[in-house]
């Protein structure tokens, strides 16, 4: 087991050498104000056997989770995904038991993970990128406000057999307050990495004692106190600070390194907010509002081409009309400030009700139109549609839609190798839809104070009372009664026609014929 703790301080945050003290057995942090990434790498034999089994059936497996609280994302941790649990994986060769993967996901993340099997519940994203570590072939998403189930699972199944159970439990507990979480596994390295990210320190800063690992040799804990510095090349990130291995080094060593990066930060003012102006009806319009600061071309190399994009993660309750959105009609596109629909995957059936849709939903990559930088504020609208949901007692059901991510994508110079970045992050769902040399500049979601990064929509459904006038039984019987009455009425009128002909039509006919002849 190897652990890498990165504490990332903003250039303006004061640092005093006594805040990180190295002793032969431990490193103690004191009131350190920093963002933090905590990455632990497990060998396969260090994890519970049911997890081992599920992972071994995968060629690669990735989890991306983001909290519903807005959080900063300083470079090199600048990339974002919509809040909730994203699972991306490529099944391995051979006969892996698909249902086992979903079973494991439920065990680890809680029963609210609505997953039956990869075939029934996952969608297949259209991958454009063919980078060294190819993007995953199947994708799943579910809303997951908290990592409580994961923390409990780790404490229950991992910490009991850990060499340092107390430390393991403390780490698991800390995940409850994480802003994002990544889990990665691939069948080449046979290693599982779990990374938590905290955008800011807890109240009073990070204060803890990081003890050297109990098992020497196999286990290692590396700590870095870093800060980003201005890089020479626009595609690079430069970091400087102190590095040390707990128990090995008697003091932290200064370091300075730079690397080309896929994901770059933008100034704090480059924000966006998402709303669905009421009344939403059955056809809500997702509105993305961008202030002027978000509309400036990002600081990419001058010869790079940049375009603003949004990537929507839509649960099955809500969907876009791919024919409407893929139009090239300039009037439609400019009325919504859209440029083009670049990619769509998943449940896009225009007619199916939610209960007959088995997969989790759909993903949409849209390129956005941008105005001249002089304009004040820019609204992009995405017309969406709600599926029919099951009846409820109140006549309303709620559909939660996570905020999309919004970012600039710029083509990078040929030959830029993103993989050498020690903080590289791929398989986010949307990155695989671009070429391997693309650089991304993420905008920051800015909801109303206290509001989550999730839009809750009210979906009108059939109101079904348990007692009272409009129970299901009443609807059923009234329908039967009215239709039967209508049927009998028309039959009666037809009967009158038959009787009105007087003793049968034939007699009259014959009579007439006789006269005619």
């Amino acid at each position: 087991m190897r652990r890498r703790i990165t504490l990332l301080q903003h250039a303006s945050t004061p640092y005093d050498p006594t805040q990180a003290h190295v002793s032969p057995d431990a490193l103690s942090l004191r009131t350190l104000d920093a963002a933090r990434e905590d990455r632990t790498t497990f060998a396969l034999d260090e994890i519970p056997s049911e997890l081992q089994k599920a992972l071994q059936s995968c060629y690669q497996f990735h989890v991306r989770w983001a909290s519903e609280r807005p959080a900063g994302a300083p470079a090199p941790f600048a990339s974002r995904v919509s809040s909730g649990l994203h699972v991306l994986f490529t099944p391995g060769e051979g006969d892996g038991d698909g249902a086992a993967l979903c079973q494991t996901l439920k065990q680890v993340f809680g029963d609210e993970v609505d997953c039956v099997s990869p075939e029934a519940s996952f969608i297949t994203p259209p991958i454009l990128s063919t980078r060294f570590a190819a993007s995953a072939s199947a994708q799943f998403y579910t809303r997951l406000p908290s990592l409580g189930s994961l923390a409990a699972y780790i404490e229950r199944s991992v910490c009991s057999s850990s060499s340092d159970p107390d430390n393991c439990r403390a780490q698991a507990e800390a995940l409850r307050s994480a802003d994002s979480l990544d889990i990665n596994y691939d069948s080449i390295s046979h290693a599982l990495t779990v990374s938590g990210f905290w955008a800011s320190a807890p109240q009073g800063g990070w204060t803890e004692e990081i003890a050297k690992p109990v098992r020497k040799g196999t286990d290692q804990i590396e700590v870095g106190l870093l800060g980003a510095e201005p890089a020479k090349e626009p595609e690079e990130i430069k970091m400087g600070g102190l590095l040390g291995v707990v128990g090995n080094d008697d003091q932290l060593k200064p370091t300075l390194f730079s690397f080309p990066a896929r994901h770059h930060g933008l100034p704090d003012e480059a924000t966006y907010s998402v709303s669905s102006p009421p009344p939403t009806g059955l056809h809500p319009t997702m509105t993305i509002t961008l202030p002027q600061a978000s509309l400036h071309r990002p600081p990419a190399p001058p010869d790079a081409t940049c375009a603003l994009h949004t990537y929507l993660t839509l649960p099955s309750t809500i969907f876009g009309d791919k024919y409407q959105l893929s139009t090239t009609d300039p009037l439609f596109l400019s009325s919504h400030n859209l440029a083009a629909l670049r990619a769509v995957a998943g449940e896009t059936d225009l007619e199916a009700p939610d209960w007959s849709v088995s997969r989790w939903g759909s993903t949409w990559l849209l390129e956005l139109a941008t105005p001249d930088p002089t304009s004040e504020e820019w609204n992009v609208t995405v017309p969406l549609h709600l599926r029919y949901l099951k009846p409820s007692e109140s006549g309303i059901r709620s559909a939660a839609v996570p905020w999309p991510v919004v970012f600039w994508a710029c083509t990078a110079e040929d030959g830029t190798k993103m993989g050498v970045n020690p903080f590289d992050r791929a398989n986010l769902g949307w990155d695989g839809l671009f070429g391997p040399r693309t650089m991304f500049y993420q905008l920051h979601p800015a909801p109303q104070p206290g509001a989550p990064l999730v839009e809750e929509l009210e979906v009108p459904v059939l109101r079904l009372e348990n007692e009272g006038l409009f129970q299901g039984k009443v609807i059923e019987l009234a329908t039967v009664a009215v239709i039967s009455l209508g049927f009998v009425w028309v039959l009666w009128k037809l009967g009158l026609v038959v009787r009105g002909s007087g003793g049968g039509a034939d007699a009259k006919k014959r009579e007439k014929r006789g006269k005619a002849e």
Partner: protein, 435 residues
Amino acid sequence: MASVFHRPSLIYGAAIALRLTLLIYGAWQDAHSAVKYTDIDYLVFTDAARYVARGESPYARDTYRYTPLLAWLLVPTASPGPFFFAFGKVLFALSDVLAGWLIARRLVSSYGMEPARALKYASVWLLNPMVANISTRGSSEGLLCVLIVALLCAALSRRVVLAGVLLGLAVHLKIYPFVYAASIVWWLDREREVSATATTTSPSGGSGSSGNGVAGKLIAFITPARIRLALAALTTFTALNITMYLLYGEPFLQHTYLHHLSRIDHRHNFSPYSSLLYLVAAGDVQTGWRFESLAFVPQLVLSVVVIPLVLGKRCLAGTMLAQTFAFVTFNKVCTSQYFLWYLIFLPFYLPRSSLLRQPRRGITVAVLWVVSQALWLQQGYNLEFLGQSSFVPGLFLASLGFFAVNCWILGIIVTDVGCLSVQSEGRVKAKGRVE
């Protein structure tokens, strides 16, 4: 006022001008507004036509649920340019006008009407803004309606094989015209049947030979004309389906026919069944009667059996109107384009209907039909655009109300057609021939 109808060129000119204006206006709105005049279905047709033009299957386009014939017909729309794009709409609008022309001609030849009067009633269709609107927005109903009018005309003029071919084609295009098979078969040779039964029953006379009578009737019923109609219709229908199946395979069957058997229709629409079907589809019914699975019974009993039997020999057009009205009213799904299916028969029915003889009744019918629809539309608007949960009681009661109004109207139509003397159409035709 009547003088206008003495000049057919004026009426047809106006009908064409109305459609041309709407076509040009539609093109203008499509080019200048994000809200399009063109119907979404038309985009489905033209997308499918583009697939066909590239040698692919029209069913590559989602929600294309029609015969490949339609996509073939619209292949010119796959060419670039706004003129070619409008080709299908022009075709549909021309079908409209052609249907109106057939109506006017038939009113003269089969109902002995003055040409001016015939044109006046045909104008109910020709100058109807709803009809012109639907076809210029690119809905294919106009194409179907001209086929149905042609079918009616072919039957009235006893061109049996042509009628059979048209019937087979119409059923291939949209399933519902199969109900007309019953009325046309019943109507054809009604005179011969009457005389045949008269000759077979009169000699035996007594009650003892009733079995012989039934057999005789049955034999008398199977006439060469009826056999020719059935053969022509079945051959056309089967040949078309086999061809399409060989060309496009399973997707053709699935989207053109099987889809209509398996669809749930849980979304709100005018049908009285829609609330119940939503409950059933969501698995929330309580009695377990599965009444909705019997929904075809009242619908088919009326439109295929009782209405043709009772009215079929009196007036073919009136019977077809009543059948269509019953079929649409009792259908499990009903949207406003279905109303065109019976609107086409109004010019044949109105001249001898109590709705015109008693204007007060006529106005009540029109007002109730419009108001009950408007009430439903308002509930639908509250749901779709304001997000109010108006399924129950709003849409539920509104669709039952609209159903009740339609049943009442159907009762009037049935009574009116039932009052016509048995051989009204034939007599006029005979007279026409003599003259």
